[in-house]
Homo-oligomer: 455 residues x 2
Amino acid sequence: MNQVVDFINVNRDRYIDELKQYLAIPSVSALPQHAPDVRRAAEWTAESLRKAGIQHVELIETPGNPMVYGEWLGAPGKPTILFYGHYDVQPVDPVDQWTSPPFEATVRDGEIYARGSADDKGQVFMHIKAVEACMAAGGALPLNIKFLIEGEEEVGSAHLDDFVRSHKDKLAADVVVISDSPMFDRGIPSICYGLRGLAYFQIDVRGTKTDLHSGSFGGAVANPGFVLAQILAQMKDRSGRIKIPGFYDAVRELSEAERAEWRKLPFNETKYRKDLGAPRLFGETGYSTLERVWARPTFEVNGLLAGFTGEGAKTVLPATSMAKVSMRLVPDQDPDKIAELFEAYLKKVAPKTVEVKLTRMHGGKPWMTEFDNKYVRAAGRAIELGFGKPPVFNREGGSIPVVSTFQTELGLPSVLFGVGLPDENAHAPDERLDLGNFHNGIIASAYLYDEISKL
Amino acid sequence: MNQVVDFINVNRDRYIDELKQYLAIPSVSALPQHAPDVRRAAEWTAESLRKAGIQHVELIETPGNPMVYGEWLGAPGKPTILFYGHYDVQPVDPVDQWTSPPFEATVRDGEIYARGSADDKGQVFMHIKAVEACMAAGGALPLNIKFLIEGEEEVGSAHLDDFVRSHKDKLAADVVVISDSPMFDRGIPSICYGLRGLAYFQIDVRGTKTDLHSGSFGGAVANPGFVLAQILAQMKDRSGRIKIPGFYDAVRELSEAERAEWRKLPFNETKYRKDLGAPRLFGETGYSTLERVWARPTFEVNGLLAGFTGEGAKTVLPATSMAKVSMRLVPDQDPDKIAELFEAYLKKVAPKTVEVKLTRMHGGKPWMTEFDNKYVRAAGRAIELGFGKPPVFNREGGSIPVVSTFQTELGLPSVLFGVGLPDENAHAPDERLDLGNFHNGIIASAYLYDEISKL
């Protein structure tokens, strides 16, 4: 392993230059106009796997964006890792809030700024470079590895479940490794053992055929902007509790043991609040901030649009209004069941003065594992070797629905081996990745292969 | 007057061609990029006054858009009319909902479709053509007339009050005539004796420094989109009553006599609802639709914006949210007082978890007059001569704040002589003006000069 680590240290700058090329491809899966860029990112990913020494690499077409699949199976008798990641990225708006252009990766103060740096190209690339280093230093990997890198993670992984289901033999492995989550905090590497699920919707309200003059008609008809506000306001009470009947029925309550563990974590609520720039923190009564984010479900407004939103004033009654809303789910909530409950409640609270349409956008199941399984312990040792300290064990507020798919369809445990930081603005302007963590992450990834090979 | 009417009938088609040119100028006062177009519309208005035979025409600069002023004072001893109108227009978005381009006036089924056709270029032009016809037929007008046509009506007439106050001699007259309101219904000409006022605001909510990932942070901080919905929902109760404390204190209640008059008006609620395409009508409990629109104040959402509003899904917690809201006011509510009450209530209902900023956009006082004054009666006769039937007397839900200014500053009564139709989409896509009403309106305007000259 010494030679591997030496190789990684020597090539540090080259890795950054290559990563910049990867980050320059605007592979925004949510926007149809970026479809060619998405494909270009898939090809770039495949090519970098080939260069790293992966024997067999292919782009596999789906009804949506292609999967990048690669395998190196030169260690018969040894365990097989299935590495999962994604090469697509979130949209960049509001683009004027970026300090440097989102697709011109820029290094400032030891961090690389670009859309996709933390989520997830940077972390995917980390593993590719760990493979390259093992190959360069020893001519082989200590175990077998399969890469599955998709292009639709940011739009709900619409074709991944089908793909996994219909390629069970191809994807057969011993453990799934995923690097698509942040570590607990700067200088505090972590292993994540729980994720929230997701249920995302669009609500469309129509009041009248066309926009109307608010003088001539104001008072005579329901206002879709106001009705939407009324509807949304009924989704949560003042204590932050979601009012959808049945919403909490399947929620697994936190154990006292888990709460006690989390209280020991070095979490500074004041610093957290200040970093976010929030006047006050706010969440469900009766839970700490970490509990709210890791173990409690949410109802959030992701977008609102109605009427006139330009500069100045327009005295219009909007004909329509729109909200994007989503719920983060926790074990054992089911996104389909939650969608039903939401739809029923929406129907109940929506007034008959408007037409309300609900569109289900996408959903993903929450996930949680025992953190004393042998793969998690191996990952813990690898992180200690790469980062110089043992990891803490945490849950994550985000969603990686595929973790649940791998468990259900392939019967595989997952190790969430993330090196992002919680303040790296995944999904927001000025997304970035700490280059120290990127570098240590390459070393830790190489150690992870070594540690798992010994199991 | 026969010669005048003959002239108007002969020139019918030419008027429409000229009006098309006027409507082709995108004089949108709310959008800074249209400033040159606004000026061009002012110059076009001035030139058409000159061509009509108005002796003295000038553009008068203000800190905003220029006023077009014109006067013909060739009838000493006769009354003087001050005609007020505006050459600016509303924005055109959503532009994709227009059947034909908003600045390419198109005639379909006897109606001319274009932004500004009804509000207010078409009605301004009607008076200019009436002057032209009187001049052509008799070489003179039967009375004195002053034109004051401004370019900021759609953005709150910011500089009009000052202008009127500092030009009292220039604007001295006997009566103000304004054609900027609809008639009661197709085939039912009307004289409007009351207008609602306006108080328009923008609410900006900030939760955090930047947009956040709804997974990593959802549950820990207040969501500005949701908070905005909560705030707005507290502005009205389920019966449609506004909850701002003190809001109704100055509202003049409808008299039983007035309510009885309005019940006699030929108003078909089912047709009205169907024309608007609303599933149901909705408004304040205890009042009829006409009462709600003409004599009751409103709170309306004019615009909403937060987070991700594009196609697809983005799991973002928006950093900010924005609402444009406005209230229509009735006698004797005062927009400044209402703004204070609103600001105090907003402060009370806004949670401390976010920053809330209120911007006062513009306001205008409500207005109401006795409808048995001699000018209103003269206008009634003119309408009967132009449209072949006597007008009904109604109030209007819209606002023409200048009416109140003319009353206060110049001590002048106003005659609201509108020939638009209530379904002509002023402020909405497919704004239009009925060309029959436009034509009859020119004739009625000429009769109006004649009738007032006899007083």
